[in-house]
Every structure is written in structure tokens, then in C-alpha cells.
Subunit: 130 residues, 2 copies
């Protein structure tokens, strides 16, 4: 079973050293959304937090050698589904970022941990359990 | 640009009425992971919360008519990226569930809002900002 997606836009940021993880990032950048989806952005507002789902486009192919990995800054072997490594069976990334503003089809965001050029697949409102 | 994924497993649950959203769900079920990825589950433990990324496999094709939708239980039009509708440009779902236990390649979970048979694409540890 093959599932096919296409980017809805791309991350743009010009920071040389991308933060390791969104939970510790204050980096700013933009998501440039394809014009065809612009109307879908109309209720995204400054100050909100959103979930961004993206494609780790520079990850090497996943093999069984990556089922257990030693993440940077942790001296232990951990199963791939317990870490946020970009090398995963399906190289999907998820970050929660803060919206600084929306201008047309460009969203300015804070708290990035994606590389410049990262393909964005989806954006959702951030929710917690009620 | 086309991005291709394959399921790492499938959701199994036999509740007739699937809860509307994980934030209000106590439904229980399982994720049955493909045997080839079993070793990647070794550090998932009962009591943890995990992020599950999945494919809305029964969604109709997305067209521009779905850029703005009226979600159930909310009498307002909202842009698709501000709601959790299964009808999205890339039909990706994200739920945060509680792990009840792991037996072999089967994860028992609580807090589901996915239909039986939903293809699972990825699982990650749940994290909040530090």
C-alpha cells in the first residue's frame, strides 16, 4: 500500500545552525504556502500555536540498522519510535510553532527546527486534552 | 514533487461510534505494527503518551471547495488549516494517545479517534516546550 503526498508549501529560514528541536527553539522563519491553498489560511492568527507536519527531505533511506539509534546528547540506545530522529520508516516530522503573523500565503513563525527548503505537508491547530 | 509513504501498521478497534477527537476520547484499541519494525518499539512503555501520525484513508479527494469548512458542532466557516477535518490537502491525521501496554508488535492504547483499519505512518514521543 503506497500513500502519496505533495507539499503544500516550504519552510524558509536563513539561520545557519538549525535548533535541535522545536521544544527549545526560538528561531524565526516563514512557511510559504502554495497560492492554491491560501484561502485555507484565513483563520490562522498571530499568537496561535500550530502543528506543522513536514517531510525530512534530506534523510537517508531507512534500513533496519536505524530501528535502534543513539540520539545526539543522550548516551543510550533507543527505539526509533521513542525518539525524534529524522531517520524513520516514514520520514515525517512534526513541530509545534508559534505564529507571528500571516501575510497573504506566507506565515511568519517562531520556534522552528526545520531546515531551509523543508517540504510542508500539513498544518493543524495545536490542541491539548480537555 | 511526490512523497511516498507506506503504513508501518494499522489501528484496530471495535467501537461502533468513533470519538470525534482524541482530546475528548477514552476509547481503547490497538496499533498492530508490522513485524519488521518491532525492534523500534522496545522503549515504548505503559503510561506514556505518544503522537500517532496516520492516513485518513476514507477521506474524499480534496478540492478547493474544502479550503473552508464548517466543522461539526461549530456553526462557523473555518479555514482547513485551523480545523482537524479529515478532508485536507494531504489527508494526514495526528492524535496523542496513552499507551496501556506493548506486547510484541501490538500496542494497546487509550484515547483513540481513528477508525478501525486506519493506516499508521509514524509514532513519536509526546513532547512539550521546555
Amino acid at each position: 500500500m503506497k500513500i502519496e503526498f505533495s507539499p503544500i508549501g516550504f519552510v524558509r529560514m536563513d539561520i545557519e545552525r538549525v535548533p535541535r528541536h522545536w521544544t527549545i527553539s526560538d528561531a524565526e522563519g516563514t512557511i510559504v504556502i502554495d497560492e492554491q491553498f491560501r484561502e485555507g489560511l484565513r483563520d490562522i492568527q498571530a499568537g496561535q500555536r500550530i502543528v506543522v507536519l513536514f517531510y525530512f527531505h534530506q534523510s537517508p533511506c531507512f534500513t533496519k540498522d536505524f530501528l535502534v539509534q543513539v540520539p545526539p546528547q543522550r548516551a543510550e540506545h533507543l527505539g526509533v519510535f521513542s525518539i525524534c530522529s529524522p531517520i524513520r520508516p516514514n520520514p515525517l516530522g512534526m513541530s509545534v510553532v508559534e505564529v507571528l503573523g500571516v501575510e497573504g500565503s506566507i506565515i511568519r513563525i517562531k520556534g522552528l527546527d526545520m531546515m531551509d527548503g523543508t517540504p510542508v505537508l500539513d498544518m493543524k491547530p495545536y490542541r491539548e486534552r480537555e
